[in-house]
């Protein structure tokens, strides 16, 4: 029950929705620097963990300890948002879902899809359930990423793993005619889902740029917790 409550109250449910969160290949969370891309991606990952699925979180920005801290914080924010929960239950649930999360930290120079392939292969070899989603946080979409995205598409096909990216755009850039930031426009055919976060007064507005009939959904979020502001 607690798991279902947490998933339903998650900001992810209200924006992208949960049912088809893994359909397709790629998803992106876009914003300028410091607005909350990683925090939102963590909430996406938490909905999977609460559904007893494994996730893989790859960061090119944060060290491993920081990744783990973000997940702990994200989980606490979600718990606080739904109201009072027995603290022991909260702790037990976290102990249950935490092992299904694996964080890997790379630098831009050392990020290599070959290593990820080796790791995912080992799940098959050990007859274990594969992660259902992979978060890749910190790839620089101002550069040409065609090769990397192609390799990731292959991983998606081979291991049925949906990939969520963080995409940084810039204040001074104008949007394209389609209404997308240039970073998304360049690769829009590969992305089935995209959410743009931007500051509005003292809140963050999450705008669904791409997601079938949920396109143009707009939800206001608390910038410090990423929870929906009523």
């Amino acid at each position: 029950m607690l798991k279902k409550d947490l998933i339903s109250k998650s900001p992810v449910s209200k924006t992208i929705g949960i049912k088809n969160i893994k359909d397709g290949k790629f998803g992106a969370v876009l914003s300028r620097a410091g607005v909350g891309k990683t925090s939102f991606l963590v909430q996406i990952a938490l909905t999977r963990l609460l559904n007893d699925e494994k996730i893989l979180h790859i960061s090119l920005d944060d060290p491993m300890e920081k990744i783990n801290l973000r997940y702990k914080e994200g989980y606490s924010n979600l718990i606080d948002y739904i109201g009072y929960v027995d603290p022991q239950k909260t702790v037990r649930l976290w102990q249950d879902i935490k092992p299904n999360k694996v964080g890997i930290s790379y630098t831009e120079a050392t990020f290599d899809t070959g290593k990820i392939r080796d790791y995912l292969k080992s799940f098959k070899k050990a007859d274990l359930a594969l992660p259902s989603i992979m978060i890749i946080d910190g790839l620089n979409f101002d550069k040409d990423l065609s090769n990397i995205l192609e390799e990731l598409e292959n991983l998606n096909r081979e291991f049925s793993i949906f990939v969520w990216f963080s995409m940084k755009n810039h204040r001074e850039e104008k949007l394209c005619d389609s209404g997308f930031p240039i970073q998304l426009e360049t690769y829009k055919d590969k992305f089935g889902k995209a959410v743009l976060l931007h500051p509005v007064e003292d809140k963050i507005e999450a705008v669904v740029l791409k997601d079938g009939d949920r396109t143009d959904q707009r939800i206001k979020l608390d910038p410090s917790t990423m929870m929906i502001v009523e």
Binding site: M64, I67, I104, K115, S122, F123, K125, A126
Partner: protein, 693 residues
């Protein structure tokens, strides 16, 4: 031994595996004229470093036992204990930290803070030992001492402050800049023994000034006078800076960082100056004891030679001349011939021969005064015992000792080996509280227990070499535990009333899971069970904890409450209630949904990046949970939690998967419930073993 304690330093040298501790100690002994030739740890001539006196140490190139020695530097007496880095030998590090006043923490300038550095840091915290850091191997490709200093902050939470800058790194490493004296030091002579002081190179002056300013800023927190001098923009005397660093270091609020390359004989001497300048003397450390004659009140010990003697035995060694007991004297003085009392058992003993150790060589002395470390011959005691003079009855906190997690059966090859094996085991278990042995009553096998595969491997090898006792080893066994997962009631009557003296006792209550190993609560009212039989009930319950009813593993985490019962005026006895308690335990236990728990190990793998995916796969195959992976330069660090039962032979597998380039450390983390499939497998194996008998 000098009596001016301000000029005494008792230090340990601790670090992760292969950081260069023993190499550094060899250089220290050379520069203080204790030895006249430097031998490398894995030297081509096979001699080995002086501190690695055990044959096995020299062969493997690892330090196993902690060797003690002393030297003099700059009119100070430095007692040094060189300690192992392998987590399997962590009891040696615990022992040393208990009795030392300061530590030199060695870090590799390439790998930085590694898993065992973290363990050592926790040990230093436990015993509140101040430290300085020495970033070693600055001659290596990829050396980055500034990054390592930052890691001290990020990973260990130290307030690390760079006290030096390197002059060149990697193959260009020539010397260091001292940011206090603002001078450059170079090291000349065949073994770097000549310290040449020069002006700072022009191209480094700007960096040096910036770094000095940062250092002074950080250090000014510990000296009002220094802060005033900064604000008044006066010239800052060296002594003022040094005093502030010393204050901050001894208070464990900062860690001064030095650097160099022990192997290339660079910048060891400045590090030794730092030991004297910044690590505490025995007078700077407050040592406490418990007064057993005064409600166990805490007393502060004084490093005074006139006060009643208090000393702690921290290490035992059984050698050809009998037992050698290493001691640290905290108060008073042990003179040859003194009578001392062991406060644990009240036994009196005479201090016969007193020794000062230098690795494996001994020097006889007349006394060991407060603040010093020495050894005594011919004293029968245990590690952790406190010795006092007759006027007082104090005891000091004993060491923290970890429970073994792995065991192995050993079978001597022949009769001669059997006798020698017993001698060997007697000695090793006395010296090392984490190494234990017992005889399995069912199989008759001798079982040895320890902290890891390497730990046991080393003792088996030592048995062969030192005692000529060759043994065959069986399959390693995991220390499983049983526990319950829910509350269950019991109401058991033990009755034998069929003529002659009868037995009667009834106990009722409940069992439930708890955090402690065992808890017994008496809630009997109205004399339903007479008070004299309550201890017997507790004894009966406790007796069942050694072998759980489920699969005969030791039981843990049970709270037993008795709240009802009955007795017979004639037939009730202690024995009857013990039996009643046993029956009650069995009755409730299986109803309480017992489960098996297994030891889970924290496994940290350091591997070249190209093998990262493969290593993570190896963990996956072992029911392991990867907590995360971090790339650090050319290496990846993978942290995971893996059941011990799946870790046997891992070193061989890892070696093959990574061309021998990866290494791992493993230490006990926690106990966790085993999955159903594993529980069934364990039960099946137990059945098979029983059938074989």
């Amino acid at each position: 031994m000098i009596r001016d304690l301000e000029r005494v330093r008792n230090i340990g040298i601790s670090a992760h595996i292969d950081s260069g501790k023993t190499t550094l100690t060899e250089r220290i002994l050379f520069y203080t004229d204790k030895i006249h030739k430097i031998n490398e740890v894995r030297g081509k001539d096979g001699t080995g470093a002086i501190m690695d006196s055990m044959e096995l140490e020299k062969e493997r190139g690892i330090t196993i036992a902690s060797a003690a020695t002393y030297c003099e530097w700059n009119k100070h007496n430095i007692n040094i204990i060189d300690t192992p880095g392998h987590v399997d030998f962590t009891v040696e590090v615990e022992r040393s930290l208990r009795v030392l006043d300061g530590v030199v923490l060695i870090l590799c300038s390439v790998s930085g803070v590694q898993s065992q550095s973290i363990t050592v840091d926790q040990q230093m915290k436990r015993y509140k030992v101040p430290c300085i850091a020495y970033v070693n191997k600055c001659d290596r490709s990829g050396a980055n001492p500034v990054k390592v200093s930052q890691q001290l902050k990020d990973k260990l939470g130290h307030n690390s402050v760079m006290m030096q800058l390197p002059i060149g790194l990697e193959d260009k490493h020539e010397g260091v800049i001292d940011l206090v004296a603002m001078k450059a030091y170079f090291f000349e002579g065949e073994n770097g023994e000549e310290v040449v002081t020069k002006d700072i190179p022009d191209d480094m002056m700007e960096d040096a000034e910036i770094a000095r300013e940062e250092m002074i800023d950080a250090v000014s927190l510990y000296s009002d006078d220094l802060t005033d001098a900064i604000l008044e923009e006066k010239e800052i005397p060296e002594e003022l800076i040094m005093q502030a660093v010393r204050t901050g270091t001894i208070a464990r609020q900062m860690t001064p960082v030095f650097l160099g390359s022990a192997y290339k004989n660079k910048a060891v001497q400045p590090m030794m100056d730092a030991v004297i300048n910044y690590l505490p003397s025995p007078l700077d450390i407050e040592n406490e004891a418990i007064d057993l004659d005064n409600n166990e009140e805490t007393v502060i010990l004084e490093s005074s030679f006139d006060k009643p003697t208090v000393a702690l035995a921290f290490k035992l060694e059984d050698g050809q001349y009998g037992q050698l007991t290493y001691i640290r004297v905290y108060q008073g003085c042990i003179n040859k011939g003194d009578t001392l009392i062991n406060s644990r058992d009240g036994k009196k003993m005479k201090a016969g021969r007193l020794i000062r150790m230098h690795s494996a060589q001994m020097e006889e002395v007349e006394a060991i005064p407060a603040g010093h470390i020495g050894a005594m011959f011919g004293v029968d005691c245990a590690s952790g015992d406190t010795f006092v003079s007759s006027k007082i009855n104090y005891t000091m906190m004993a060491m923290h000792v970890m429970e073994p997690v792995i065991s192995l059966s050993i079978v001597p090859k022949d009769n001669k080996a059997q006798i020698n094996m017993s001698k060997a085991l007697n000695r090793f278990t006395k010296e090392d509280p984490t190494f234990r042995t017992y005889v399995d009553h069912e199989t008759g096998d001798t079982i040895i227990q320890g902290m890891g595969e390497l730990h046991l491997e080393v003792y088996v090898e030592r048995m062969k070499r030192e005692y000529d006792a060759e043994v065959e080893t069986g399959q390693p066994r995991v220390a499983y535990r049983e526990t319950i997962t829910r509350k269950a009631l019991f109401n058991y009557t033990h009755k034998k009333q069929t003529g002659g003296a009868g037995q009667y006792g009834r106990v009722a209550g409940f069992v439930e899971p708890c955090e402690e190993e065992f808890e017994f609560v008496n809630k009997i009212t109205g004399g339903r069970i007479p008070t004299q039989y309550i201890p017997a009930c507790e004894k009966g319950f406790k007796g069942c904890m050694d072998k759980g009813p489920k699969l005969e593993f030791p039981v843990t985490g049970i709270k037993i409450t008795i709240d009802d019962g009955a007795y017979h005026a004639v037939d009730s006895s202690e024995m009857a209630f013990q039996s009643a308690a046993r029956g009650a335990f069995l009755e409730a236990y299986l109803k309480a949904k017992p489960v098996i728990k297994e030891p889970i190990m924290k496994v940290v793998i350091e591997t070249p990046n190209e093998f990262q995916g493969g290593c993570m796969g190896l963990i996956n195959q072992r029911r392991g949970i990867i907590q995360g992976s971090q790339e650090e330069g050319v290496m990846s660090v993978i942290e995971s939690q893996v059941p011990l039962s799946d870790m046997f032979g891992f070193s061989t597998v890892l070696r093959s998967a990574t061309q021998g380039k990866a290494q791992f450390t493993m230490e006990f983390s926690t106990y966790k419930q085993v999955p159903q499939s594993v529980s069934e497998e364990i039960a099946r194996k137990k059945q098979e073993e029983k059938k074989e008998k």
